[in-house]
Subunit: 319 residues, 2 copies
């Protein structure tokens, strides 16, 4: 294993508690003989935080509400996958799109119904009822089916520890497991040993202030070749500069051997994404497939459909 | 006005749209003759973001869920104040404590009631009903009373622009206005002219990476002496190191002339806060009052009660 990756985990301040939950979740997807009933995908979602102090008051964050991850998780569930949803705490959850947290007070109405006994009579307003009803029903179905495991993270440290633990647990499933890395993970951080203990005092930094950040070791190689070598690996590229997008996506394939890269531009990411993959020809050049939202409500429907298709092709290669 | 403060606002990328809303809100708190019916407080809440790129993918954030601000706003409303709630978007809102966003799916139940016509029959589960009912009722009362104005911000730029606009609108109210600055505002930032256009490429920063940040000009002096010289000004100090806390709070009084500083330690902030103020004796030394949560559900009840009392004393000084 990469020495930098090893050192990263040695220095990590916290330990992941995900292992036991993931183990029993995987067991639930197996029949009495231990055979897998359905494929399992780990969908990561939301941004990681990078603490600037050990008693953390300030941190660097990545822009990500978690919409891509949450909607993708829904679509994987509908395609028959069991889903491990590794998400930033308080990011958007599957089946809650259209129910923003701030608006909860707006769609509830208090109806006093003294005739009906000791009920408090809180109802969803008429206008919002269909939307809320639909979301709640789908979420309850997913919970009841035992096909959705939600694991939260906050810091970069927690995210990478959980991702490694999940990948290692998925390893025995071979090609039937998939990793769909939609989370926005920081490229740089302050290693725990170099981190100051207390809140950085503004008096200490005269007019200017230098923050020394280090590169986060690239984990894609370890994930692909060590943690879960057979799992179908989908990584993401988000850029704001169109000129760099496809070449950077191709780099992830040639450097780390990922199976597909979902490449998108910040401003247009809800309308168009590119799926870059080695393709059928295997002539050296990567294939780029364009996915458009089209008439769908959300682009994650055709996006996940395409990924599921690529995963099926990959599974077929096993026989 | 301070030249640094002036330059900060000249360079700001966006403009505040708060002015019109604040104007009509203030009018609603006045009777036909223009006399003020009740005092008005601006409560700021949540952390500011500091963008690292103009097309913002990464930003520095401050740890703050906004609980202090949201609960304080509730208590000011109950004390008869009109409240301008200047809050980080998606931070905790007044009357929603106990209703975390992620749990919305857990307290709703879908009840099919075919007899009752075209209703979708979404109800709050029995177990959560009293809590939800209480929160929704109080929020609806506040909205109906016209005594709560909610204004969101995201970046440091938006926050300071809105704060300045609000303070300038409150200026004519003299001592009857108060500013209660519970938001966690960044001390450092990258000025817009120095900010890169696109996402910082990790390839550009070899092994390490230097982020050049500048001090945010101190606005408390301008707020106190220029924007709203008579308004009762309450600032906050959050530290993780107890040794620095009180002396830093006293510094805000001697340097900027704020009327009270709420000083708290990150780990114990829900149990104990210190209110530092010039005191009755006026013998040069600031007075430190300890506020404990005690038997109250939240410490914001005794905290706001103490601030209201100090504001009353300050108002009395006008006669």
């Amino acid at each position: 294993m990469d020495r930098d990756v090893e050192r990263f985990f040695e220095e990590c301040p916290t330990n992941s508690s995900a292992v036991a939950k993931v183990q029993s979740f995987i067991q639930r997807q197996q029949d009495g003989s231990g055979a897998l009933i359905r494929p399992i995908v780990c969908v990561t979602s939301g941004g990681t935080t990078v603490p600037l102090e050990r008693h953390c008051v300030r941190f660097i964050d990545n822009f990500s509400g978690g919409t891509r991850g949450a909607l993708s998780a829904e679509n994987f569930l509908e395609a028959g996958y069991a889903v491990i949803f590794l998400h930033r705490r308080h990011s958007i959850q599957p089946f809650t799109k259209g129910l923003p947290s701030g608006q909860i007070l707006d769609f509830m109405t208090s109806v006093l119904e003294p005739d009906e006994g000791p009920q408090h009579g809180m109802h969803v307003s008429e206008s919002a009822s269909e939307l809320v009803s639909n979301c709640v029903q789908r979420a309850q179905d997913a919970a009841a089916s035992g096909m959705l495991l939600r694991l939260p993270f906050e810091t970069l440290f927690q995210y990478l520890q959980s991702l490694r633990a999940i990948a290692q647990q998925l390893r025995p499933l071979g090609r039937h497991a998939a990793l769909y890395l939609a989370a926005a993970v920081s490229d740089f951080y302050i290693p725990w040993p170099q981190m100051v203990e207390h809140k950085i005092q503004s008096a200490e930094f005269g007019e200017g202030f230098h923050l020394e950040l280090q590169k986060v070791p690239k984990m894609l190689g370890s994930l692909r070749h060590v943690w879960a070598p057979e799992a179908f690996l989908v990584s993401f590229k988000l850029e704001t500069d169109e000129k760099l997008l496809i070449s950077k996506a191709q780099g992830s394939i040639s450097k780390y051997g990922v199976h597909s890269v979902v490449a998108n531009i910040l401003e247009t990411r809800k309308e168009i994404v590119y799926i870059v993959h080695p393709g059928a020809k295997n002539g050296g050049a990567a294939q780029v497939d364009e996915v458009l939202r089209g008439q769908e409500q959300f682009i994650e429907a055709p996006l996940v459909a395409k990924i599921v298709q690529l995963h099926k092709t990959y599974l077929g290669g096993e026989q």
